[in-house]
């Protein structure tokens, strides 16, 4: 919301307050000032009179002028075509800083120039506010301009505009008059409103009919003015409009805009001569096309509120009038419309048409109930005063306003209890009175009467906010809640997620956070949740679905980083994924490159299938799940995202807990990535089961005996088969079996491999004898042979 300081000063005297102080006080009282802009640049400017004006001897478009600047006569070279002897002009003096340049003494084609004769544009005045003659060249001031004085003051553009952020509860600030009341309350000053009450009560009998066939219009005031004169607005009116960011057009249109900005109530004027009949009806169910004031054609739906006359649509209610009945230079009589429309309906229409006009935004935010009467009074007063309005007919009203000022009560003890303050009754009453809430005290209780423009005040808490706003929040002394002690807790899930983050980051992985919304192709990911959720109105096809699996997003991060040559970047993400039936917590891991090590020693740990297997085992073990509770099988679930021969499934009990392994070459191609292994873990499966607890076991004090075996087996025989064979035959003495070497060679034969294992024997209750070990070892070798491994 743009607030002109000069305009504000029409209602409440603030000229003695600097703009910065004003902005500060307004901000701390709840009207956040986001910026202060001068209407025109504040440079070293002076009104000058052109004494002589000659052609530049060495140019066909430059002139050389001597200008009386009051204290001094300057020679100035000027390029504007309209400069002439005798004019009063705006002179920027040496050193003046204009938006585009700084004025310096210069020699222009051999002629000295000490200053610049300016156009308004050069002073930073927005082009849309310039009259055609101002736009053509330098600004020529009236003969009444006094040489040596400030031209901005003379032109009335010595104004500053505060950019005030409006909170949705304070729709009343759409009326500058209400902003003035607030400023008056903050600074404890009187506020003056021009005397126009009952200006609209005058009028002779009328034939005008106004009405509505829809509940979307609750009030319609209509009034015929048979005679008026369209002309240029007086300067003060143009200044106010320009300060409000509205381009002046003519006195009649300007009055409608001025009154809207002043009272917050939009008005619309129809050219009387362009109306076939004196009848206006608000309707809906009138789908069709309309050319509006801005000369664009709009497609209207049945749900839109429209203004009709003689059965024809002549305007989009509350948004914009039609082109056919607009005011122009030929207008000599008008019909005034002041109405109340449904905010919801106006909001829907203006947003759909992308036509957020000043009027529409005011209707959308809500207008104080009595504003239509104030606006009509003010409009009639100004039309009489500035447009010679005459032959005025009486006001016709459709609908009615049943506004009664409401009472809201609060107690002093409630004020202090909610705020944690110890304010005195006087302070509270003073604050409420300044805001025109008419407080009446009875014991501890304060009864306020809420004026029509403060419909946001409904309950006691609203009043308490008003009090502290006026008193100042710095009066609140900080305390901490006095309540029973509680323990700051994470739940089991949160603890486990934090543990996973700790484990994986400590192993060198980087946590990533990617977008929840994904494109359709991502839905075909790892263990996708059924029935993915689609947005009703997505921003783009790329962000249309709520993701139902996590790895697709993580692979996208891999692709970005591989494209940017960020090597050895291994990552994980923890996130919820969704389907129509609900949500799941997922963990996704992707490895691309070395986990640790260095290149020159060839001793790095590569981020491959076995690395990700190890990472998962590390996570599961540390969360209390290991050994026989986890079952590893070849991946038969997903041959679409994973390499079918280089991937695996881990189950916890009967539930699938994770799939991991090499990314399927086709998926890698689609994603533009290479050498990536990934895992997707269903954390809810893990969280649903109870982990093993830490339990002390006596440490075995008897020595270990270690035997190595080297065998030849089929290349595709899984080593787990051999280990199982050893464990079976070796019970209970075999403590562990480690794989220490695997290789293939031509000597072994095609399809064969060598497997070397270390078996560790240990008894719980005695020192093992050589014979005992040899006997068991023999059994083991027999069993290995049965499993398909021959001693090498």
């Amino acid at each position: 919301m743009k607030v002109s300081k000069k305009w504000l000063n029409d209602y409440v005297s603030i000229n003695d307050i600097s703009s910065v102080d004003l902005a500060d006080r307004l901000t701390t009282a709840g009207l956040e000032v986001e910026g202060i802009e001068p209407l025109a640049c504040k440079a070293d400017l002076v009104i000058g009179e052109v004494l002589t004006c000659e052609r530049h001897p060495d140019s066909d478009h430059l002139s050389v002028a001597t200008v009386n600047c009051g204290d001094k006569v300057e020679q100035i070279v000027c390029g504007a075509p309209n400069v002439a002897k005798g004019q009063k002009v705006i002179v920027a003096r040496l050193g003046a800083v204009l938006p585009q340049l700084t004025i310096k003494k210069a020699v222009v084609r051999g002629v000295e120039s000490c200053g610049m004769i300016c156009s308004l544009n050069e002073l930073g005045v927005d082009e849309k506010f310039l009259r055609p003659d101002s736009a053509a060249g330098i600004e020529v001031l009236g003969v009444d301009a006094i040489v040596g004085e400030n031209p901005l003051v003379y032109l009335g553009i010595d104004d500053e505009i505060l950019d005030v952020k409006q909170t949705p509860n304070r729709a009343d600030f759409n009326a500058l008059w209400n902003v003035a009341k607030e400023v008056g309350a903050i600074f404890n000053r009187d506020v003056m409103w021009p005397d126009c009450e009952c200006a609209a009560s005058i009028g002779k009998p009328t034939n005008l009919y106004v009405g509505s066939t829809t509940v979307g219009c609750s009030l319609f005031l209509g009034k015929v003015i048979n005679k008026l004169v369209v002309k240029e607005s007086p300067r003060w009116l143009m200044e106010r409009l320009m300060a409000g960011g509205v381009k002046p057009i003519n006195n009649v249109v300007d009055i409608s805009n001025f009154v809207m900005m002043e009272t917050g109530q939009p008005l619309h004027f129809y050219d009387l001569s362009k109306m076939n009949v004196q009848e206006i009806t608000v309707m809906n169910q009138r789908a069709g096309k309309l050319v509006a004031l801005d000369e664009n054609e709009y497609e209207l739906l049945d749900s839109d509120l429209v203004i009709t006359s003689d059965g024809k649509v002549i305007g989009i209610a509350g948004v914009m009038g039609g082109d056919d009945s607009k005011i122009d230079v030929t207008t000599s009589g008008i019909i005034i419309e002041v109405a109340s429309f449904s905010p919801v309906s106006i909001r829907n229409t203006s947003r759909r048409l992308d036509l957020i006009t000043e009027a529409a935004s005011r209707f959308t935010k809500g207008i104080e109930p009595l504003a239509p009467y104030k606006a009509l009074d003010r409009a009639v007063q100004l039309l009489v005063e500035l447009a010679d309005a005459d032959d005025i007919e009486e006001t016709v009203q459709f609908g009615e306003v049943n506004h009664v000022d409401k009472e809201v009560k609060v107690t002093l003890s409630h004020v202090n209890a909610l705020l944690g303050t110890s304010l005195a009754m006087d302070e509270v009453v003073d604050a409420l009175a300044r805001l025109h809430l008419r407080p009446i005290v009875e014991g501890d209780q304060i009864t306020t009467t809420i004026p029509s423009f403060r419909t946001d005040l409904v309950i006691a808490q609203d009043l308490i906010e008003e009090v502290i706003r006026m008193v100042g929040y710095e009066k609140i002394v900080a305390t901490l809640p006095l309540m029973p002690q509680t323990i700051g807790l994470l739940n089991d899930q949160q603890i486990k997620r934090r543990s996973i983050q700790k484990i994986l980051t400590s192993l060198g992985l980087q946590e990533v956070v990617s977008y929840t919304l994904v494109k359709e192709s991502f839905l075909d990911g790892v263990l996708p949740m059924a029935d993915p959720i689609a947005l009703a109105s997505p921003l783009s096809e790329d962000r249309k679905y709520v993701r139902n699996n996590l790895s697709q997003s993580v692979l996208e991060v891999v692709a970005y980083n591989q494209a940017h040559k960020n090597e050895n970047f291994n990552m994980f993400e923890l996130s919820q994924v969704y389907g129509k039936a609900g949500s799941q917590w997922r963990l996704s891991i992707a490895l691309q490159g070395e986990l640790l090590g260095n290149a020159w020693s060839k001793q790095g740990v590569n981020g491959d299938f076995y690395a990700i297997k190890g990472l998962l085992e590390s996570v599961f073990t540390q969360l209390g799940f290991e050994g026989s509770r986890l079952r590893l099988t070849r991946n038969e679930l997903d041959h679409h995202n994973f390499h079918p021969y280089r991937s695996a499934v881990i189950q916890l009990g009967k539930e699938v807990l994770a799939i991991f392994g090499d990314v399927h070459p086709n998926l890698a191609k689609v994603k533009g990535i290479k050498n990536v292994v990934m895992a997707e873990v269903l954390l809810d499966v893990l969280l649903a089961q109870s982990p093993a607890k830490i339990k002390f076991n006596a440490i075995n004090k008897y020595p270990k005996v270690v035997r190595d075996v080297a065998m030849v087996a089929d290349a595709k025989l899984e080593v787990e088969t051999l280990i199982t064979a050893i464990n079976k035959a070796g019970k209970p003495l075999v403590q562990s079996v480690e794989v220490f070497d695997i290789f293939t060679s031509p000597e072994l034969g095609a399809d064969k491999k060598s497997v070397a294992l270390t078996i560790t024997y240990q008894a719980k209750d005695h020192t093992l004898m050589e014979e005992e070990v040899s006997m068991i070892h023999g059994k083991i070798l027999d069993n290995l042979a049965k499993a398909g491994a021959v001693l090498r």
């Binding site: 009282a29 709840g30 956040e32 949705p168 509860n169 905010p343 959308t364 909610l418 705020l419 944690g420 303050t421 309950i459 808490q461 308490i464 906010e465 502290i468 706003r469 929040y473 609140i476 900080a478 305390t479 901490l480 809640p481 006095l482 309540m483 029973p484 509680t486 700051g488 994470l490 949160q494 983050q501 994986l504 980051t505 400590s506 060198g508 992985l509 980087q510 946590e511 990533v512 956070v513 990617s514 977008y515 929840t516 919304l517 947005l535 009703a536 109105s537 921003l539 970005y560 980083n561 940017h564 960020n566 050895n568 970047f569 291994n570 990552m571 969704y578 949500s583 090590g597 001793q603």
Partner: protein
């Protein structure tokens, strides 16, 4: 007797002259083996008169001991020389690159979120989460934002259908918590989570971002308590010297509502680029829970009051680390993420 002394002197000289372990072994064999010089001197003892034998024996023993001790010393010295030579041979280039133990770290948003969670946990708050795809009921209705309320314009919503939406704020967790805990007061929780708004992504806007909201409901909870609580948060996050100020604001969920500014941690309130010259940085929205919100959750607004506050995790991260574009938080460039591996 003189023989013994001669043998000893000759032996000590030979030990001294030895330059490696094999020479030293030769000397040991020559003098101290079973057939060595000392042993042959010993054999002469049997020819001596018994009265002279003890003195002779003592001399021999002394000779043997001295030789043995000299041998030991020499042997240690030579072993040390040999070890030195071997170690010199084991020279390595200490300037070669180290074996890397890559340090992973949490995402900056997680870092900030957990830091805030932990500050509040230390004050006895529980951490509570909720669904990101939620009902209009919890996101809007129960937050005192009825259908067609203009406040809904401020947060353009991703709807799934007429009932379901992507939550636009973590207030949805608060309204659920109020309902669940209506008969189990007081409430003291922080609610972190991802939220979504229908905004085009640019340097300062993101269709997805992270919020943390806090909620305390009990008897006699005041606006002053809110001020004290947020004062502590500001000091924990941005340093002991920080102060906060309240400015009036408007949220449907609270009444009174305040914006909370923290004195700028860069310029100490003097005014700089970060605080746009004001000396203050807007960080939180907060207020006293609206009585209608309590009513809707089934909590007696006459008996209980509460405060609520909310902040944007991205905004805090951007301020804290000087990040200039919110999109960095979601692109996940390794060079960006690895900046956050330091303990701070």
């Amino acid at each position: 007797m003189k023989d013994i002394t001669d043998v000893k002197e000759a032996g000590l000289a030979a030990i001294e002259k030895s330059t490696d372990l094999s020479q030293l072994t030769q000397v040991r064999n020559e003098y101290l083996s079973k057939k060595g010089l000392v042993a042959s001197l010993m054999s002469g003892m049997k020819d001596l008169d018994a009265s002279l034998r003890p003195a002779f024996g003592a001399l021999i023993n002394n000779c043997k001991e001295e030789l043995e001790s000299a041998l030991k010393l020499k042997q240690d010295a030579l072993a040390m020389i040999a070890l030195q030579a071997k170690m010199a041979n084991d020279w390595i280039d200490i300037t070669l690159p180290a074996t890397e133990f890559p340090v992973g770290n949490l995402h900056p948003l997680t870092l900030v979120q957990q830091e805030i969670e932990d500050i509040f946990r230390s004050m006895g708050y529980k951490v509570v989460e909720g669904p990101e795809v939620d009902l209009d009921l919890y996101n809007f209705e129960r937050a005192n934002i009825p259908a067609d309320h203009p406040a809904r314009d401020m947060q353009d919503t991703f709807y799934v259908d007429s009932q379901w939406l992507l939550r636009t704020h973590t207030t949805a967790i608060q309204t659920r918590t109020l309902e669940e805990s209506a008969n189990n007061l007081p409430i003291k929780v922080v609610c972190p989570g991802k939220v979504y708004r229908r905004d085009d992504d640019d340097a300062t806007h993101s269709h997805q971002f992270t919020q943390i909201e806090g909620l305390v409901v009990g008897e006699n909870i005041t606006l002053a308590d809110l001020k004290g609580t947020l004062q502590l948060l500001a000091k924990s996050m941005f340093g002991e010297a920080r102060v906060i100020r309240f400015r009036p604001s408007y949220f449907q969920f609270t009444e009174p509502s305040v914006e909370v500014d923290v004195s700028c941690h860069i310029c100490n309130g003097k005014g700089c680029n970060v605080c746009k010259g004001s000396g203050w940085i807007e960080i939180l929205g907060a207020g006293m829970v609206h009585p209608h919100v309590l009513d809707m959750a089934g909590i007696d607004g006459k008996k209980y009051t509460g405060f609520a506050f909310g902040l944007g995790v991205e905004r805090v991260a951007m301020l804290k680390y000087g990040i200039d574009d919110i999109r960095h938080c979601y692109i996940n460039d390794a060079r960006f993420l690895s900046l956050f591996k330091r303990f701070e």
